[in-house]
Symmetry: C2
Subunit: 366 residues, 2 copies
């Protein structure tokens, strides 16, 4: 496994450093391809399939489901090759799971790391149906000395100088959690191509890079996986030379559904005066949500929290707000049961990961 | 109807002029909200629902389908109020229809009009199911002197200084075409919220602004509708003062599915040497596709054309290409049966409408 990432002659331009300059053409191309959640869709506990956010590194691969097999190999006692039908006939489990792109908030950093330029919108919740990974690993039998499982997708491309199939690893301990699923359905229907058809990994609580789509192989390995997506891409780094810390579980975040109605171009919101209900969702991969503060300018109120529909899905929150005419900035801020609080200063890092800076929404009350 | 667009005190910043400057924050917000077709999805004759392009001017409205009614009024002999069930029990028709945002290609213009900054990707095809509009209009009976039908959605917002519900009109003649449908299903399932649930208008051959989503009213009127989306937004204008010409049916365009595999950031394609198949789709709202030229650098080849799955859906095209090592630019260009050809110079206009300049894809053959 460790030699999977073949090094190509450097065929891309020099990877740009974080910048305070304007948006680049490359960022625009990515923003038009990838898809955020329109924030009014925070009204849905389960995001409609076609509204789920989407980040695809390379191309959506075309997979022939009849010929497709999941290969489970590497250091296992029994190698396995499973058809979609084999997987569907195994124990079945449905979980609502919220996940978020690790790069969510990147374009709100300054200097701004150059990649998909998310503002706040790279999060969604779906009901995922599949079979627990742990049973399958038990059946295959991990050999002594196995430390990680490597999950490889069918999507192929180049990132920086590395040509590779998208691949990520998990420790054996993390992979054996009962909520880790190999899923073939989303919201009660077979996966659509862009969400990983025919099979994807779901690791509740973790950022989106872990939810490997178009899964083709699982390999048990006896040394830490050094693939590009594991050792280069998804790291919290202070600068180019920092070896960095891995990005893992989601930091807490609350978002509010912008109230009133928008101006098309600026997305500024227009509200009538009077009492209005403001609502949103909050989540964390490090605990349950224990508090959401709703802020109007520099005043803050505790929001009422709803019950999440599952251990790994966002919870609703809401407040009543007596609007006053004029210009206001609305914001919200989550705290989780592990004591993590959303920061008021953006947590800058070299690759723009995990920026859970509080959202701000400009409104005009008339 | 003519007084529906109330003029507000100007609550937005001055609308920016077309610019040669860098991308603005407002354009980024729109690009993250709206959704293009990832171009590899040109492989699908019918776009999977969750991959269909999306342009939403305001917010996706929340519609209670049980309480919802379509009101058909204005200058008709019999006003009507129809539930979703009423509409579903009327004659049913399914059509594959390709449509495209009128602003597709806007961000490739220079100077660049400031709005949703599409490059090439704002087009898709779906199978739409609904009931013909003409039957309904016959049943209601248009009064003498009616010249247009006005279609109003439930989406509400401000654009420039105009607060309005999204609304567009069609001449009686256009509205009576047998292929014009009131649709409640997309790809065999009820519309998802972002595609107009519970009902939208489909006018095959026309750009996307005509396919009014979240339809709430149809009004027969005896004077040309002067709503914002009709008289201000969707016009071909040479400059700010030009009264302009209305945007109507789609200009011809061909797109190719970028071959090989991509570099994540630049989207440059990498290909191995040898013979490869290149394919794409082409469409026009002004006739059938009669020719697609595939261009490699400055050489051009005629592509083989497939049969479109319907009168109003795109047709597949394909060529075999013997690649040669090095850097190349691929392009393609459609001609329709009315003799319209994609231009090699972008058809600039003040609002960035209908830019069907040929797509260019940079590739490295290794």
């Amino acid at each position: 496994m460790e030699s999977r990432n073949d090094t190509l002659p450097r065929i891309t331009a020099t990877v740009p450093e974080p910048t305070t300059g304007p948006l680049s053409f490359e960022e625009l191309q990515l923003a038009n391809r990838n898809r955020g959640l329109p924030l009014e869709a925070l009204r849905y506990d389960i995001t409609p399939t076609g509204l789920h956010y989407l980040l695809v590194h390379f191309d959506i691969p075309l997979v022939d489901a009849a010929a497709w097999r999941l290969r489970l190999g590497g250091k296992v006692k029994k190698e396995m090759s499973l058809s979609l039908e084999d997987l569907r006939s195994r124990p079945r489990c449905t979980l609502p799971v919220t996940f978020e792109c690790a790069g969510n908030g990147r374009a709100r950093l300054s200097p701004r790391p150059i990649s998909q330029p998310w503002l706040n919108e790279a999060v969604s919740t779906a009901e995922w149906t599949g079979t627990p990974l742990a049973n399958l690993l038990d059946e295959a039998g991990l050999a002594p000395g196995v430390v990680e499982l490597v999950f490889t997708g069918a999507d192929h491309g180049v990132e920086k100088e590395y040509e590779h199939d998208y691949a990520r690893s998990l420790s054996v301990n993390e992979a054996m959690h009962p909520e880790v699923l190999l899923v073939y359905e989303m919201n009660g229907r077979p996966l659509e191509p862009q969400h990983g058809f025919p099979l994807r990994l779901i690791v509740p609580g973790w950022y989106g890079m872990t939810q490997v789509k178009w899964l083709s192989r699982i390999d048990a390995v006896s040394a830490a996986f050094d693939g590009y997506q594991q050792r280069v891409a998804y790291l919290y780094k202070r600068n180019a030379d920092d070896p960095g810390e891995p990005v893992t579980r989601m930091r807490p975040r609350a978002l509010l559904a912008p109230p009133g109605f928008p101006d098309y171009l600026t997305r500024r919101r227009i509200l009538d005066r009077g009492r209005i209900a403001v609502h949103g969702r909050a989540w964390s991969g490090q605990g349950s949500i224990s508090r959401v503060e709703f802020c109007v300018d520099d005043r803050s109120f505790d929001a009422a929290l709803g019950k999440a529909s599952g251990l790994f899905s966002w919870c609703a929150w809401g407040v009543e707000w007596d609007t006053t005419p004029g210009e206001h900035v609305l914001s919200c801020r989550a705290t989780d049961s592990a004591g993590n609080v959303q920061p008021t200063d953006p947590p800058w890092n070299f690759q723009g990961m995990g920026n859970n800076l509080a959202q701000e929404v400009s409104v005009t009350v008339r």
